[in-house]
Structures are given as structure tokens and as C-alpha cells.
Amino acid sequence: MSTAVASHAHPPTSTGLDHRKIAIWAFIGSECMLFASLISTYLIYKGRSVVGPFPHDACNPPLCATPLKPILNIPVTSVSTFVLLMSSLAMVLALAAVENRGKPGYEGILGSSKFWLMATAVLGTTFLGFQAYEFTSFVHEGLTIRTNLFGSSFFTLTGFHGAHVTAGVLWLLTLFAIDVKRGLQPKDALLVDISALYWHFVDVVWIAIFTLVYLIK
């Protein structure tokens, strides 16, 4: 540890730990409860919609004006899930690139934090593109946030998650801009570490949503 760097970066703390890292973990803890409440709401309302479309079941008259297929598109969501998982891999590689800057073997792509930060942002944006496609197709098929209980709870839950991904992408692009402007150095590793923790949390929330919303019938 470099005491000089530590004292320069932030004042001494009673725990010896950086306040920013404690703050992000406390924030992530509070986010666990936020998403648990949204997932609870979805699960409680699941199967209680009076009119279609329904997530896993077809909807036929008189519940629907016209016959409707189950609305969830599992293949598309599986691909977007894979994209988000790969973004987490890119994120850990971005952090490793910053932490190991200047070390032998990190001159190439493995040591390019710019590449990995941009890759993570692009993968996050791709995930958002899949979500936009999904939301648009749902609306075209007659499911809006006001259609039924499923629509209300589904759009609220996945919309909140999408908003978190959007915030994460903006955060990553900010780090990328800093990296381009002055280059992220090992002393900046904590900045990347904090953003990585947020990004991985967004990923683990999606792991839960994918199973509870999309796969469990």
C-alpha cells in the first residue's frame, strides 16, 4: 500500500477503508431491497391478470378480442442475457487493465482499459436495444403498462432495471472519456472498481429477473 497515495486520495477513515467503496456497497445493499420489492410485486400479481396478453399462456376470446400467443420471447431475451453476462466479463477486464497498467504483458488489448470500458458500454447499449425491441413488440401486440396486472408489474420491474443499465452505460462512458483525456492510472483503480461493482450488480439483478420473470411459467 502506498500511504502517500492513500492520504492524498482521501482523508483517513476510522475503518481504514475508502468511504466511496463503503458507500457503493451500502447503495447496492439498498438496491437489493428495491429490486426485491419490485420482484415481489411482480410475483404476487403473476397469474392474476383478468385480460391478456399473458406471459406464458395463449389468450383466446373472450379474454382477448383476438387469439394471442404467449407474449414473452425467450430466445431473444436469452441472447440479451448472454450479452449482459459478457459485459460483466468486459468490465472485470477493464478493471484489471487499469490495475495492471504498466506491467509486462499489458501493452496489448488485455491492457487497454479504453477498449474494455467501451466494450462494456457497447454491450450494455446492445442489451438496452434488445429491451427497446421487446417493449416495442409488446406494445404492438397489445400489452402496455395499463393493459393488465402483468403489464404493469412487468414494465415497472424491467423498466427500472433498464434505467439502471442506462445509468451504468453513462457512467462507463464518463470513465471512458476520462481515460481518453488523461488515461486512467492504477491510482484511479478505485473509480473503476466502484463503477464495476454497480455494473455487476445490474447483471446479478438481471440473472434473478431472467429466471423469475421469463423462465418460471
Partner: protein, 116 residues
């Protein structure tokens, strides 16, 4: 590959202690294997969704188990909680336990476990 295999914090500019890291981070190989395992579990989850096993009583428990494993892998290895200070572990697992307990209690109150 030897240089790539180890992501350590030997660089003196990194304030490892204030970042709360008790041990070294995983290696590139471990990160790669974590990604492969996460992908494989996801493939299995989607595959069983389309098989007759999805009608089985074990389908939901199996999915929940696989999801929990993926969740734990990301938290332990990608979020480095396995290597981090115990205060960070407490800050995450405490609220997580409260969140899961609340979720289960709400499902119980609203009769979601009835008839199973």
C-alpha cells in the same frame, strides 16, 4: 500467458488496503472460466425451459438453484466479494437476507405457496 494469468496489485500506486481487498483478485483464466460457466448455466436454463422437464415439479427448484449459483458466482468472483473486506460482505449480505426474507414473507402472505 504467465503475465496475463495473474492480476495482482503489486503496483504501488494502488491503495489496496483502502479498497478493502484482503486477497488478490482472480486471474484472467479464472475470469474466463467464470464467463464460460455462467454461459453454460444460462444455456441449460433455457434448454430445460423447452424440454418436458419444464412440466416437472423439480423444474422451478432447478431453475432457482441454477439462478442462485449464477448470482453467487458473479458476486464472489466478478464483484470480488470473496476477496474483499468483511465489512463489504456484511453490507451486501445483510440487506440481501432482509430482501429475500421480505420477498418470501410477502409471497406467503399473498398465498403464493398455497396448494404446492
Amino acid at each position: 500467458m504467465a503475465d496475463h494469468d495473474t492480476f495482482t496489485h503489486t503496483n504501488a500506486d494502488i491503495d489496496v488496503h483502502s479498497m478493502g481487498e484482503v486477497h488478490e483478485h482472480p486471474t484472467w483464466k479464472q475470469y474466463k472460466w467464470v464467463a464460460i460457466i455462467l454461459t453454460l448455466i444460462t444455456v441449460i436454463e433455457v434448454w430445460v425451459y423447452y424440454t418436458p422437464f419444464s412440466q416437472s415439479a423439480l423444474f422451478v427448484p432447478a431453475l432457482l438453484l441454477m439462478s442462485a449459483v449464477k448470482f453467487a458466482i458473479v458476486v464472489l468472483f466478478y464483484m470480488h466479494l470473496k476477496y474483499d473486506h468483511r465489512l463489504f460482505k456484511a453490507l451486501f449480505t445483510g440487506p440481501l437476507i432482509i430482501a429475500i426474507s421480505t420477498l418470501l414473507a410477502l409471497l406467503l402472505v399473498f398465498g403464493k405457496f398455497a396448494g404446492r
